[in-house]
């Protein structure tokens, strides 16, 4: 019976793991060590603005241990979704960290870099051919949306990774990829059952998230065979139970039973979860159905403006009882003031000011069922979004001052109605992005959207 062993270092590169757990994992001779380094979860700014999520030093710490461990067991190391967004810049950033570690530790290996940013002309051609399809909920797509997106990545599945492995690459650094494909590719290539391989991949990809009462990010290990897989966390205090493993199919998925990949669908409806011990679980009955049509999901980040934030508290009972009215009037009057001050050169077409009321509905907005209730104080977050950085900063400075002294009818004389915790009151946030695409491409073949570079280290 085939047995492919997979070591998940941690749920996300840079979030850390115990060296002792990892050493135990290496001693079990994994065929592959894998880890994702990103997702859309932290928002579009990482992809849009080429901003890595973690500091370089913590990435280097985790990657060093993984490269050394790989060298020891001679398996493959696969890291995907570099830098969080998975843009080309992030793959190069991760490559430089890996090369630096290789020099410091005197390591050599064949390295594959797989880039996933998309050529806009290619996407526009596919759009014209009707081969870019919306996912639900549907959002608009056009040539203009493609052109004005700062970066667009395709989310690779197994095939580009498998192609890199076939070149003999031992270390693979990939742009945006499905988390599961990082873990499933080697087991499927080596003959493990596709159902167990993809289900194990889904369970392993968040590290110890599939354990009961996750105490810290750490390593977890999978043994994938023809018709089942076994899973066990490597930290001494972590445990998997049938329920905790089953429950992990729920995490971050819209549907707990069916998980779509570029070439098929993982189906866990018939899966059975059995305890092997008080910390290890066996899963049988997982299925993987190949799709008729190969699809690659797109993720795009588009600049929405330059943001400056102002944080302020309000405690005055008279202001609190007319809060919305006060802030609406404040913003209307401020628009007039700006017109005067900038002589029409800057107007409401260049900026917007939104406000969030913490202590009332700051977290849930329109979903908040208790938004009529207000406490004895609230926190306000004003966000100025403008078409230029200079405008964003300028408007925020003027607005903080204007809002501070904006009157209410009950008080006669000058008031200071906002409690600012900082000086200066405004915090420049930088460029802001939104997610501009929720679509898939139907390519001619699974490799055409990705570019692979092989080098000897």
């Amino acid at each position: 019976m085939t047995e492919i062993r997979v070591l998940a270092a941690t749920g996300m590169l840079g979030s850390g793991f115990l060296e002792s757990s990892f050493a135990r994992g290496i001693s079990l001779e994994p065929h592959v060590i894998a880890c994702d380094a990103g997702s859309t979860d932290a928002g579009p700014a990482h992809l849009g603005g080429d901003i890595p999520y973690f500091d370089r030093e913590v990435i280097k710490r985790d990657l060093r241990l993984m490269l050394l461990g790989r060298d020891q067991c001679n398996g493959r190391l696969i890291v995907g979704s570099c830098g969080m967004g998975g843009g080309d810049w992030a793959v190069d950033w991760m490559r430089d960290i890996a090369l630096e570690i290789a020099r410091e530790e005197n390591l050599s290996f064949r390295l594959a870099l797989i880039k996933s940013e998309q050529d806009k002309a290619y996407l526009k051609t596919r759009l014209g051919q009707g081969r870019i399809l919306p996912l639900m909920p549907e959002i608009p797509i056009s040539e203009e949306i493609i052109d004005t997106s700062a970066h667009i990545v395709g989310v690779m599945g197994s095939e580009p990774i498998a192609a890199a492995i076939e070149t003999g690459a031992k270390v693979i650094l990939a742009g945006r990829a499905t988390d599961t494909s990082l873990y499933s590719t080697v087991p499927v290539m080596m003959g493990a059952g596709a159902g167990p391989a993809w289900h194990a991949a889904k369970t392993l990809e968040c590290g110890t998230a599939a354990t009961i009462q996750r105490k810290r990010p750490d390593c977890i290990f999978g043994w994938i065979r023809d018709d089942h897989f076994d899973i066990e966390p490597l930290g001494p205090e972590s445990r998997c139970t049938p329920q905790s493993v089953a429950a992990h199919t729920l995490y971050e998925n819209a549907d707990p039973y069916l998980i779509t990949e570029p070439d098929g669908v993982l189906d866990t409806r018939e899966a059975q979860y059995t305890a092997l011990s008080d910390r290890a679980v066996r899963v049988t009955g997982s299925q993987y159905h190949k799709s008729d049509r190969y699809t690659v999901k797109l993720e795009g980040a588009r600049l929405t403006g330059y943001q400056t934030a102002i944080i302020a508290g309000v405690r005055d009972p008279f202001i609190l009882r007319q809060l919305d009215d006060w802030m609406d009037k404040m913003r209307a009057k401020f628009a007039e003031r700006i017109k005067e001050m900038y002589d029409g050169k800057i107007g409401v077409e260049n900026y917007s000011i939104s406000v969030r009321v913490y202590g009332r509905d700051g977290v849930m907005g329109k979903l908040e069922p208790r938004r009529d209730e207000i406490g004895h104080e609230v926190g306000l977050l004003f966000t100025v979004t403008a078409d230029q950085e200079t405008t964003s900063r300028a408007i925020a400075k003027s607005f903080a001052h204007f809002a501070l002294h904006f009157p209410i009818p009950e008080w006669q004389g000058l008031i200071s109605g906002l409690a600012f915790p900082f000086s200066p009151a405004e915090l420049y946030k930088g460029p802001a992005f939104n997610f501009s695409l929720n679509h898939v491409v139907v390519p001619d073949n699974p490799l055409e959207m990705f570019r692979t570079e092989i080098r000897e280290v």
Partner: protein
């Protein structure tokens, strides 16, 4: 009056990608899981009225192996759009914690 939060092991909300919000309600044992399902504490129509979403947009799953109820809806604010205040979608489950259970 006991509340859903008193009998659940975990109630959480989270992004399922930038455009979907998903809620997981997990139980420690079969007894509470069954009791909540049988008493129809959390149905599509109940959820629709709490969160002001259309019933047709709600997907509801009962997952016996996980002893969990799962609900997914289109994200009311797309992640990081200007009015979104919860990048990870992790704090949208509060009203479910306070759902009252029948005696």
């Amino acid at each position: 009056m006991r509340k859903l939060g008193d009998v659940a092991r975990l109630i959480r909300s989270k992004n399922a990608g930038p455009f979907i919000l998903t809620f997981d309600i997990m139980f420690d044992g079969e007894e509470n899981y069954r009791k909540v399902i049988d008493a129809q504490v959390l149905t599509k129509s109940r959820f629709a009225s709490i969160y002001h979403v259309a019933e047709k947009d709600i997907a509801l799953f009962e997952h016996d192996a996980a002893m969990a109820i799962k609900i997914s809806i289109p994200r009311p604010y797309v992640q990081c759009d200007i009015d979104d205040g919860d990048v990870y979608g992790g704090q949208q489950h509060g009203p479910l914690v306070d759902l009252e259970l029948p005696d």
